[in-house]
Amino acid sequence: MTDDLVSRVARLPFFAELTPAHLGELCAVARPGSYPAGERVFAEGDVADRFWLIEAGSAALDLRVPGRGDQVIETLTAGSVLGWSWLHAPYRWQFGAVARERLDTIEFDGVSVRERCEADQAFGYAMLRLFLPVVTERLHATRLRLLDLYATPAEAAS
């Protein structure tokens, strides 16, 4: 862990609510990373053992559909968390992710974070408070898209 990394992580609004001690614990298992445009960050079904905070660039979540290739479900931009399957069994990615453009990230070791959550309930609760809004927000966004709000009545009925 370097001071530079701690200050980069502390700058991200996502971690604003964390205490300095919890931030330090998280940074102990973090490292900077980058992916060129088009590089796969993770693939559906692989072991989910990490998560990323996007500092710059964007990533596309995708799903392989037989006969249609990789279908993009959603894109994530700077400030977003990429990946939460590391949090819950069976710890496998439910979707894939590809760098849409050059992606600068801070990568966290999900297995270590999970172990700390088990060992320190206050830390675990802090993580829950960080990630639950992310899950909720994505659920809301998915529900909004299910409504097909921009469709004409005819399109919505078809």
Binding site: E137, D148, Y150
Partner: protein, 285 residues
């Protein structure tokens, strides 16, 4: 900044004949018509206000102003309206060819009050055909560029093919506007964002404490967008939405467009979110 207040009714009860001067196809079901008056022009429209457009023999429909007239010259006092063919009236308006005569009543309703955003960052968020009523906001802000701070335009569409003003989106980006575009359903080859338009708000660069936001689109989209803007710190009093109900007379007489205490043809369509929010979640309204 003062709240947006109702303007005095200036529109007409009788349609004025306007001729279709030009017709541009924007998407598979959407066109932009430029209308030139035949006899006497209606009073000038402000961004946010709407006209009742008549397809003679079929009916009339409320359509917002979607462009500012060029200053001076032959196109002054022309009206620009972007409309989507959805029902019988809008299908007839959509089909109107250059030279066709349409009836126009207006201007009706409140404006976006763009000048009051001077000295602030401007954030415009539009969903679907909702980009049309905020296009004049962007045109007005760009015409007086030095009076405004950051300019952000975030656009959501159903599919890439449904995106309005695609050439202008590129021009606006080249002019320094932060343009973010996202679609619900990407097509093959789409390299832009996928997802809902409120998701673009956290990464946009603007100072929430000195921002005026203009939001237009389906009501549910506006609620979620407003929530995201409030979360960033934009005050509800500086957040404006465009509400729509069944506009008929345009003058607050018939009551068809009532939303609680508001008659939207007169007290809207542009309403401060602080005033609109409690009304948008009442099922009976």
């Amino acid at each position: 900044m003062s709240a947006v207040t109702a303007t005095a009714v200036t529109g007409s009860a009788l349609p004025h004949p306007y001729r279709v001067a030009s017709r541009r196809v924007d998407t598979g079901d959407t066109v932009t018509l430029e209308l030139a008056y035949d006899d006497t022009p209606l009073p000038a429209f402000a961004p946010g206000q709407f006209a009742m457009l008549t397809a003679y023999g079929i009916g009339e429909a409320p359509i917002s102003l979607s462009g500012l007239p060029e200053a001076g010259g032959g196109s002054a006092r022309r009206l620009t309206h972007t409309l989507r063919a959805v029902g019988a009236v809008t299908r007839a308006l959509h089909a109107a060819a250059p030279g066709a005569v349409l009836g126009v009543r207006g201007p009706f309703g409140t404006s976006w009050d763009v000048p009051s955003a001077a000295g602030h960052d401007v954030v415009i968020v539009a969903g679907g055909i909702g980009l049309a009523p905020v296009r004049p906001v962007l045109q007005a802000v760009l015409a007086g560029r030095s009076r405004y701070g950051e300019i952000v335009l975030l656009v959501g569409a159903r599919t890439p093919a449904d995106l309005l003003y695609r050439d202008e989106l590129r021009l606006w980006a080249a002019a320094g506007v932060q343009v973010g575009v996202t679609v619900d359903r990407p097509s093959d080859g789409w390299t832009g964002h996928v997802g809902v338009v409120p998701a673009l708000i956290p990464a946009a660069r603007f100072d929430p404490g000195r921002t005026v936001a203009f939001v237009c689109g389906p009501e549910v989209m506006m609620r979620f967008t407003a929530r995201a803007l409030l979360d960033r710190g934009v005050p509800a009093s500086r957040l404006r939405v465009s509400l729509e109900r069944n506009m008929r007379c345009g003058m607050g007489w018939c009551g068809h467009c009532q939303l609680g205490p508001l008659l939207l043809c007169r007290d809207g369509p542009v309403v401060d979110y602080a005033r609109a929010e409690p009304l948008m979640t009442i099922r009976e309204l």
